[in-house]
Symmetry: C2
Subunit: 362 residues, 2 copies
């Protein structure tokens, strides 16, 4: 049987902690957040295209035009448009179900990779994905386990178990974002890894788990996938999609299957970041001679006595920092944020406040 590997890139989620650069209408995956000239989405596809037989992007109606414009090499048929957000299980399950129908008689392995993460070490990533694909052939749901370089409370953790063949280990369990004490214990223990939310699995194994664990969702997705490349797609979508169960793939598949011993982890030391907030983003940008990290046109920023600050000049205006080494300054055409790296996680509270006011700026 022909074997193939297809990458699935769910491109959704606003990234509210990166407000005001990231908006519902222009979420973080559409931005070049590392100053490389490529958006996070483009970099994700750049990373996957050499490794996969195809890349499928699942996105919302609101973003499909921008996604298509950013990804001219992805065939239009590989942009799957969701009528409304139904969380990651529906997005990934839909893509897997459509792929099995498009490639009958092939043994398809799928891998899901978020559109808004940053990975700088392509060789290590490629090696880890290849190991994951080989491990998936053994009918495991396979995830990548990132070396926990610090006791972060911003990530979930994977408890790593016994070694399997081919550089993979059994997963004992997944744990949610821990408190600081627990995170420190995990890092000290040495057998915990960060969960980057990347899953590699045979499409049929995924769909079989889904049919068993979330049967109504599986049935809905099957009905939609049957109609996807047919004239009745819109009719079936509009009828079935709104009723699909909203659940993350972690809860629907990864956690229960791990409890059954069916999940493997490929430990990897690659540099990975989910760019979850401004503090996280700052780590990805090299400081200039003045010690200031600038995302965008560095000539737009004049900084005095502000080494350590992060500036995002995205409005075309001149940004001047004077004596504010802790500042995070994000300057967009209609909104300005002045905060500090220490308050990065609280930006969500700002967005919540603005939402309560009507939300024109979110």
């Amino acid at each position: 049987m022909t074997q193939s590997f297809h990458a699935i890139v769910p491109a959704g989620g606003a990234g509210t902690r990166l407000w005001p650069l990231s908006r519902r209408g222009e979420p973080k995956f559409l931005h070049d957040l590392t100053g490389t000239g490529r958006t996070l989405l483009q970099a994700t596809v750049d990373r996957l295209a050499p490794l996969a037989d195809g890349v499928v992007v699942v996105t919302g109606e609101r973003h499909v035009e921008a996604v298509a414009a950013q990804l001219p090499t992805v065939p239009p048929a590989n942009l799957l448009v969701e009528p409304s957000p139904r969380d990651s299980m529906a997005a990934i399950g839909l893509a897997a179900a459509v792929l099995t129908r498009r490639h009958p008689g092939e043994d398809i392995v799928v891998g899901s990779f978020a559109a808004d993460h940053v990975i700088t070490d392509q060789a290590a990533f490629a090696a880890a994905v290849r190991t994951a694909v080989a491990t998936a052939a053994e009918d495991y749901v396979v995830t990548l386990g990132i070396r926990a370089s610090e006791p972060s409370t911003a990530f979930g953790y994977i408890h790593v178990g016994a070694a399997l063949a081919a550089g993979a280990h059994q997963v004992r369990s997944f744990t949610e974002k821990p408190d600081a004490e627990t995170a420190a214990e995990y890092v000290a223990a040495g057998d915990y890894r960060w969960n980057a939310g990347m899953f590699v699995v045979r499409a049929q194994v995924l769909l079989d788990h889904l049919a068993r664990l979330q049967p109504t969702l599986a049935q809905g997705l099957a009905r939609i996938a049957d109609a996807w490349d047919a004239p009745e797609r819109d009719e079936v979508l509009s009828r079935v999609w709104p009723g699909l169960t909203r659940i993350a793939i972690d809860h629907a598949i990864a956690e229960p299957v791990a409890a059954e011993g069916g999940v493997a982890v490929v430990p990897t030391d690659l540099d990975w970041d989910d760019v979850g907030d401004w503090r996280s983003l700052a780590h990805l940008i090299d400081p200039g001679e003045d010690g200031v990290r600038v995302l965008g046109e560095s000539d737009a920023v004049l900084a005095l006595d502000s080494g350590g600050a992060l500036a995002v000049p995205a409005s075309g205006r001149r940004v001047v920092l004077l004596g504010v080494p802790d500042a995070v300054v994000v300057d967009t055409p209609d909104a300005l944020l002045v905060t500090t790296a220490a308050h990065a996680q609280q930006v969500k509270a700002v967005v919540d406040r603005l939402t309560g006011e009507g939300g024109a700026l979110i």
Copy 2:
């Protein structure tokens, strides 16, 4: 002889420490910096009009249109336009010389008052000016001496001497902005007052001092004043003005005449501020419920955990402060400044840097 009192308002100076709100093209006196609905220039004229028989404003060609628009009650003939800046002695001397020619046979007292200072206690101001006018009748050059409520290093000081009649004292000497130690000594000594740069004097006394101490400047101003209300004004101005000595009234008149015993001071407790920088401005604005001082539309600012900050939303954009209680954020359509009150005096260094770059934003 008929007696009259005329206020002279030199309206020049960019106020570079209030960049980016204050610019060469739109200096601080043209702005409402206290949220009262009146610009500093308008408030200055509002304050003087009830006390004086006339108000004369001396300004530059670049600003005369804006000044005229802001001051519809000042007759056009009372807006004296300088072809180029020649410091305060030329501006005040010109106004005094023109006034003596326009009011022959009158005993004119003139008072000069900067266009960009803030005084909130009108009754105390009026009382001090009346005392100063009465003292000026005795041929003194009279200045107001503001109670030194703290050992500020941002102001010059007046060393107060023996009491004269009518609530005035002799001035022993003027001192430049002192260092912190000296300022503390002055405040502890009790016989020092802040010099607010307000001078009240008989026009003829002023012109006589000038003729004696700065004869070439006096002659040049006399020639220009002779031509001011005549067809040859422009011709004489273009020939004589560029050669006028550039000197401040403090150095030309106040200091040397004080050394001769010819300067008096009227001590006053009025609230006065020269709004010299952002820290100074912050003191003039009442904080909102969130502890943030907003100059402008307070609805434009959303602040969390930032009590004590100063925000100037002057671009129409939303300004969000998160966890920055020390911040000074000045948001204008083409430039943004993020600094702290402690760095207020260093804003001039920013402007110098921008000047070196070509100065499009200054």
